[in-house]
Amino acid sequence: MDINSRKKELVKEFTPMLQKSTFASKIWMGILVFLVLIGLYAFVVQVTKGHSVTGMRDNVVWGVYIINFIFFVGLSYSGAFISGILHFFKTPWKNSVSRIIEIITVLSLVIGPIFILLCIGRLDRLHYLFIYPRIQSPITWDIIAIMTDLFGCFLYLYLTFIPDFAILRDNADENTPAWRRKLYKTLAIGYQDTEPQRHRLEKITRIMSTMIIAMAIVAYTVLAWIFSLTLQPGWNSTIFAPYFIIAGLYSGVGVIILAMYLIRKYFKLEHYIRKVHFIGAGVVLLVISLLYGYFTFSEYFSRWFSHKTSDVDLLDTLFSRYFWQFIFANYIGIIVPIVILFFKKFRNIKSITFAALIAVAGLWLNRYLIVVPTLETPYLPIQDTRPEFIHYTATWVEWALSFAGIAAFLLFFTLIIKFVPIIPMSGIIDHEREVDTHRKKRPYAEDK
């Protein structure tokens, strides 16, 4: 196999994805920018008028911002976890999905913490967290964990991009803008795909894949501890850390399936993202949904059985004020994916994507039900006050900023895949090189 000509072929195949801008893609980008701008306006309103423009009050001090934060950060950690596993064990079908996962991991880890900044009433005091950190505080642990994880994820993402940057640098045609060529050259850091370089890069990528698995577990555990180390009903649980990790994986796999479906459809990548990938991801989602269902049941059952007054109040709130949300999050959001994914005959691309959509929506709602109803049922209720001070309803400002966060995530995703191919070319080359080597070693193996 002539590797250089194969690289050229691949660049030729993927270049239109990187350089061509269709009318639809322009509309898509325009909508996303518009949503981000609305979010920025909402942010200005919130900063100038204060948190009174949100639904957060004395009782419910955390709203959809913190839910989005947990959701995005969970997405990131699960992405890191899955990506690390795929790399570490050299999973055969990793090449088609690994870049999608890596981009999701980094972007959600960039977007997620922005939501926690929106929760802070006095942003002008943000630097105090760094000047006067208390090592005893889970908030400090979370800051350290997120920053360490963010750096690690960026580094890992960059490592996986280097061979493709090198391919794009070496095979740029006359239509490639100068700035792109320059950027590819800088980012490729002189990688020439030689044996020692490849070996070195492979080694550090493996190390980083292990690191990000560990960091994902540590960081998401710490995030769960922000809740479970308090005495609040509904939060004070010993299983919260593993529960959060499983929940993060659940949403992560769900979002990956959704991304796979959309990318496959939009870029017509049926050749690379095949049904077998969806079935593989679907089976993983099935296993995680069973675990997630088990944890959810265990969590609520033990609360109900213990019969502590505060827990009973919380469950009353969940089964009255939040009845349908509770049913969707913890019944439909778990059982429907299980049913779809359990039976072989239901496992096709569309149904698996639908199961993933239900799982993601259910999980977001589950995060909502963990945060808001608990804050609405405190140990010391505020008496004789206005209902809006006790109950939480998100305002347009919060929704605008939430959608702006999702739009920013999608916008960055779209921009990144305009810069590097969504299917790693180096991965295809590596795979073909391996097959070639295998053939050379056992020339008659296939004939038998």
Binding site: I135, W141, I189, G190, P196
Partner: protein, 294 residues
């Protein structure tokens, strides 16, 4: 439960015409019987508290007690009206009769006090009375030969104005705590007197003051009588600040193990990052060398 309380409140609040409307509701007054208990307390300033607790108790479930509030209670001394009060949200109506009030007494000097609820269409009339002898408690706190001694004198005043020692009564002694009173002694008064040696090492408040109560409680003959006095007999509070907090979760410095674990974790991760970055530089260097040779 809350619903029942609301319904009962409605019954009382609208008095005369509410009971007919309530017949259709799930709440049935027949399941409840009323409890009307009256007591009197002679307070420290020698004024007298007269108090009624008015409750509805479930006939089957003894834990199910509902306060009856906004019910007007009239207090009498014999046939003389002392005043009236409405029951609170806890079902309690009370009145304080001033120290200088002259009570109607019988030949033996007994005072008869009566509390009356005149009833509504929903609730029957209620009445309770107590007959007590008006007595006084005098609390005397002295250090006799360096021994802190608590002494109480109990007496009544006869028609001629002379003090007559109380022959027999049980008296309890208490120290006022932050939320309630702690019993430190109990004994029987004989010939109008009782004394005991005060406990040592009672902390007291910030300046060492303690408040001591002498109380006769639920006596058939005298009702409730209370007297108190504050004295600087407490040991004062120990200043915990001098001992320091050490490395606790709530102190300024975190526990040592926390620093150790965090350092190990962070170093473990960041050393790997550093190792990766060094290798990236090596790749860059190799690339440059390849460029030169090419």
């Amino acid at each position: 439960m809350k619903r029942l309380i609301y319904i009962l409140i409605v019954v009382i609040f609208f008095g005369n015409n509410s009971i007919a409307q309530e017949k259709d509701s799930i709440f049935d007054l027949k399941n409840y019987r009323t409890s009307f208990s009256f007591k009197t307390v002679k307070q420290e300033d020698n004024s007298r508290l007269v108090e009624v607790e008015f409750l509805a108790k479930n006939k089957k479930d003894r834990k199910d007690k509902l306060p009856i509030y906004d019910a007007e209670i009239k207090f009498y001394n014999d046939e003389t009206l002392l005043g009236s009060a409405k029951t609170s949200k806890d079902g309690i109506a009370s009145l304080v009769v001033p120290e200088d009030h002259t009570y109607v007494t019988d030949e033996e000097g007994n005072i008869t006090l009566k509390a009356v609820f005149e009833g509504t269409d929903g609730l029957d009339e209620e009445e309770d009375e107590v007959t007590i002898k008006d007595i006084f408690l005098k609390l005397d706190l002295q250090e006799i030969d360096s021994v802190k001694t608590v002494k109480v004198n109990a007496y009544s005043i006869d028609s001629l104005g002379t003090e007559q020692p109380v022959e027999e009564a049980t008296v309890g002694f208490f120290i006022q705590g932050m939320l309630s009173k702690m019993k430190i002694e109990e004994g029987d008064i004989s010939d109008g007197e009782y004394e005991f040696e005060m406990l040592t090492k009672v902390p007291g408040d910030t300046i060492g003051n303690i408040t001591i109560y002498a109380m006769i409680q639920d006596s058939d003959e005298y009702g409730n009588v209370s007297q108190k006095q504050t004295i600087n007999w407490g040991a004062g509070q120990v200043n915990d600040d001098t001992t320091g907090d050490g490395n606790k979760l709530w102190s300024e410095a975190a526990p040592v193990w926390m620093y150790v674990v965090l350092t190990i974790l962070l170093l473990g991760v960041w050393i790997n990052y550093l190792y990766t970055i060094i290798h990236l530089f090596k790749i860059k260097k190799e690339g440059k060398e390849l460029d030169v040779t090419m």
